[in-house]
Amino acid sequence: MANLEINIGELKLKNPVMTASGTFGYGLEFSDFVNLERIGGIIVKGTTIHKREGNDYPRMAETPSGMLNAVGLQNKGVIHFVNEIYPTIKDINTNMIVNVSGSTIPEYIQTAEIINELTKIPAIELNISCPNVKHGGMAFGVLPEMAYSVVHEVRKVYKKTLIVKLSPNVTDIASIARSVQDAGADSISLINTLLGMAIDAESRKPLLSTVTGGLSGAAVKPIALRMVWQVAQAVDIPVIGLGGIMNWRDAVEFILAGASAIQVGTANFIDPAITGKIVDGLDDYLDRHNFTSIHDIIGLLNCD
């Protein structure tokens, strides 16, 4: 039994396995399949200040070794979260983290302020990378100045651990990451989905109502790994890696590339019990290689 504990800012994780926002509901949807308390952290569905109906159906298209989605941040708004969801999840013995999104900087600020008051929510993940909304979302995550502004403003009102989730749809991920660090983020998570599209040749129509959507799943892993590696070298704050992690071996690769923790997303749809298996697999890997702690392998990639 190696030590799997890891800290992200002031956030204490019992192990580095988290679930990615939008792929694990509020956790409860998966309680029949996996012991939620074995997971290091659960990042719940993207939450906005106002209720959002999301995009029109169809919102999903399967692609080789992956999927496109264009959900568009459907959620009932932060007040609904506080009144209806929070009481049902607050006593789950893991870190329940809220993914916060918005169309404008004031919306991000207001939502973060409200979540800041919830004692059992130790961190937020600021989503400046959603590719599926018309206003805001990814727009904040593709320019270093914009990324700096939104993180800087939220930092003023949010007192606990602030994770910022980056978009891969940029030319220079390292410069965005540095801006976010300079603005006061405690941690960076990446990657959100890659902008993509799918077409039905027979009907000559796009498969998504929004034409383009976000690609996730095993297909994106090499890109995610590369970006995590680049960002881990560019910043001093802990990096949380995600993008196409399907099993413990993928998780190990992200940690070797420099991630302090990882998130499991689309894999939850294929195997709803995968998170528990990844925790076991990491533990076994460390034992087999005679490491005593997960810290021993963070960024241990040997490029010589």
Binding site: E29, K45, Y57, S65, M67, T266, N268, P272
Partner: protein
């Protein structure tokens, strides 16, 4: 209802025509309780590109043999691979998912019509069998393209009177289910339907005009199957709802269909 991830074993793969087959599956322990209208998510084995599980409705449950049946149509690579399943093969399934059709707990007279189109007839066999068990006489109306495409007619006939329409008139009445003469002056007080969207909209419209309670089973494209990803949504009077979790069966009064 508690959901399970189970390795089910193929007992039989019965082809009923060139593109439709029935997978009969069992498990080494008693299968969980399932309700008509619920579905399972089947993992596609040995596939490089069929990445997501396939949501498949429960066609029939034979508790005496501890079997669950799935009626499938070969449509893409996933169902093509499933069609090659051999006796003894293992398919990893998540079940049971979603909410089934509602059946009255108490009734004096209850006369339901079960309307299915194509492979959408799948859940109606299980539903018909369960209705019959509690003393309700189901009547079936099945639509198909042609005689060869009428699915499971013998098994439906055993459960109740079964009317058929075919688009080319090669069997039953010619036309679509909605044109069938049994719908003229009918005395049904419930319609359950599953099939192509256009058919279900037509049936829902008929039910509404005739003030008949009606439930439809939707098959929007899904990813997770448990209400987490919010991909399979259907517009309803309560906003966009997940078909996998809030459905797949909906009362037409709840939907935002223009009927």
């Amino acid at each position: 209802m508690k959901k399970f991830i189970l390795d089910l074993v193929v007992v039989e793969n019965e082809f009923i025509n060139g593109s439709h087959f029935i997978l009969k599956m069992t498990h080494n322990k008693p299968l969980p309780l399932m309700q008509p209208g619920q579905f399972v998510e089947i993992q596609i084995p040995h596939s490089t590109t069929s990445f997501l599980r396939r949501p498949i409705s429960i066609h029939y449950v034979d508790t005496s043999k501890n079997q669950v049946w799935f009626l499938l149509q070969i449509k893409g690579e996933g169902t093509q691979l499933l069609s090659q399943s051999k006796v003894g093969d293992i398919l990893n399934c998540i079940l049971p998912l979603g909410n089934g059709f509602s059946v009255p707990a108490q009734f004096k007279r209850f006369s339901p019509l079960l309307v299915g189109g194509g492979v959408g007839t799948a859940p109606l066999l299980f539903l018909g069998a369960e209705l019959k068990k509690i003393g309700i006489q189901p009547v079936f109306l099945l639509g198909a393209r042609d005689q060869d495409s009428v699915l499971q007619l013998n098994r439906f006939n055993k459960l109740g009177t079964t009317y058929v329409t075919t688009e080319d008139g090669s069997f039953g009445e010619k036309g679509y289910v909605i044109n069938h003469s049994v719908l003229i002056d009918s005395t049904f007080d419930m319609i359950y339907t599953c099939g192509p969207k256009a058919m279900m909209v037509a049936v829902a419209s008929y039910a509404k005009k005739n003030r008949i309670n009606c439930e439809v089973s939707l098959e929007n494209h899904m990813a997770c199957g448990v209400g987490a990803c919010l991909c399979c949504v259907e517009p309803t009077k309560e906003g966009n709802l997940c078909v996998c979790k809030e459905g797949p069966v909906f009362n037409i009064e709840k939907l935002s269909w223009q009927i």
